[in-house]
Symmetry: C2
Subunit: 398 residues, 2 copies
Amino acid sequence: MADLLLRNIRPYAGAPTDMLLQAGRIARIGKGLTAPEGVAVEDGRGDIVLPGLVEAHTHLDKSLWGLPWYVNEVGPKLLDKIDNERMNKRALGIDPYRQSARQSIQSSLMGSTHIRSHVDVDTEHGMWGIEGVMRTRDEYRDIVDIEIVAFPQSGLLRRPGTLELMDEAMKLGAEVVGGLDPCTIDRDPKGHLDAVFALCQRYGKPLDIHLHEPGEVGAFSMDMIIERTRALGMQGKVTISHAFCLGTPDPALIDPLIAGLAELDIAIMTTGPASRPAPPVKKLLEAGIRVCSGSDGIRDTWGPYGNADMLERAMFIGLRNNFRRDDELRLGLDVCTCQGARVMEVAGYGIDEGFIADLVLVPGETVAEAIVTRSPRRRVIKRGKIVARDGVSIRTAP
Amino acid sequence: MADLLLRNIRPYAGAPTDMLLQAGRIARIGKGLTAPEGVAVEDGRGDIVLPGLVEAHTHLDKSLWGLPWYVNEVGPKLLDKIDNERMNKRALGIDPYRQSARQSIQSSLMGSTHIRSHVDVDTEHGMWGIEGVMRTRDEYRDIVDIEIVAFPQSGLLRRPGTLELMDEAMKLGAEVVGGLDPCTIDRDPKGHLDAVFALCQRYGKPLDIHLHEPGEVGAFSMDMIIERTRALGMQGKVTISHAFCLGTPDPALIDPLIAGLAELDIAIMTTGPASRPAPPVKKLLEAGIRVCSGSDGIRDTWGPYGNADMLERAMFIGLRNNFRRDDELRLGLDVCTCQGARVMEVAGYGIDEGFIADLVLVPGETVAEAIVTRSPRRRVIKRGKIVARDGVSIRTAP
């Protein structure tokens, strides 16, 4: 692994300094460092240096990135979208390997160094998605770390055979067990949650469950997740994604849930959605809860939005949470960097000596400015190596 | 006024065609047009052509654009923000002429051809804002049309002397009367509304009133606005900006208001705010109500967001209203173009022979793609003249 000396960079837009990257780690930070013999030197030109961005919730297997424009005429219900996608995936050419590789490169160009991807497991396509994204995970390891969540997108119990496929996905090497709306999709919260927690227990893996259910029904499902996390000793091993129910403006409903999440170190993922109730990021962070974020689906049959830019996502979190002060905007960035790493159990993440050398360089005066302008990514660094310069990756997409 | 032949452009991403612009209007649209003698030809390279974007709600006089980064440490209340701004405006160097000129050029670069700007009128700064933005309006008329709303940002009745200044602003040449939260800021809804409607009557000008008041109190104020619009025969002459109360999820509250707005042709302005209740755009359009949009404040002491990009604003409206289908995204674009022109009473706006030649060219396969990628503005055309090419304006900022 080649070493690198970064000169004239500003950690979090602070005073200019230098940084020596050795063996994939930040070896030293300080002004006027000299490059050891044979170590390349990169002039940071006074750019801001931030921890590599963390894309903690996306769907690498289903993006239409690089394919002809998909004209969306899908019906309004959740099941319309689920069925439309499953039934048209092959005809549209959504090959999970190729598409996940394309999105991963886009993600890396935008400064992400870690990705957690939910990957569909269903009776129509079996292991197609898991195998495709595993191949991308292995082939593109030099530019980004990918963690795979086996995700029963079409339902777990309502489509017999899916649970067995989830088991197979975990055997194949998925790193996280997924789940989905135990009340409103599977219509059997006890059955669904018992099944996914059992998979976690069998494989010793964490859980990341989609919970779109709003209001009281979402609160009910969340409470059942909290209950099982406690009973099974899975503290620190559970993430609840979306968690719209936490956006209910009723402290009597959500404060007990927040207390439970904090007690059991259950993490929350929010995209900062504009059209749905959203978890209150500042309140969760103040309660000591790990909060991460992600792009969710990027240009897929569900919707056309998304560009894999987690700096823009920090802006969306700011807009959604009415963050206006510079210190508030910084919270959004933390969610999209170090907090995400904590959720993905990446130790030693951030800007400090000894930490992983996953970094991104952006021009700008302040961190808040970099966020709201979605400052261009000048350099993206993965394990001490420059993997993208000015929007050009060292890897090409299939 | 020089004429221009645009070749190989695709109106709304349709089939490629040509377009002859003469005397500031779209003279002809058709394949294989020949340029009359002496008329310049511009190759559109297959770009999408859209109507010029319409920035129907911003605050040109208060942007910090081009100034050093303002570290926002302002308190959480609305009055904190109002007082902070009024008191620090001069010290921060927010000269209304210079700053409005800077933002207007940025707006033009992003494809906007019309701007409605609210401009502060208060006892601290008098006509400073109005005179500054009037100067910009006059000096930059070649690239963008600016309409000025006299805006009592600090309150109308609660600060004696403001009403007289509003009167002075209208005399000076403001085109629209502004107002602000008659209950929660002035705490005298009858007094406030009677005063602003009287100004409209005295000067024969339309009204555009900020109404942030949510829920029942906003509905009450809106009802009083509807009542006065009817009584004074001001159909088609009133805009309500923000109108958060219309985001209340209670048809019993909002349906009667929507009926009143439709009956009296009262327009609604929404930014598609992620953190506040928002007017339901599709429902309003279906009721025949004119709906426009705007950036609101851009990088000011209120908050750091904004880049004057009304194509991005169309995306924000889509995200806020959960628009996913291509036909829904197009609604967002219409709000940011032709609907905005209707609110500003610009006749003959859109892409058709005889209409004003205010246009923007963007690359892309479909309109939805142009919106979600916020496609670069290749050419911006104002009254038939190219005023920006690839992000470079024909004008420079002071």
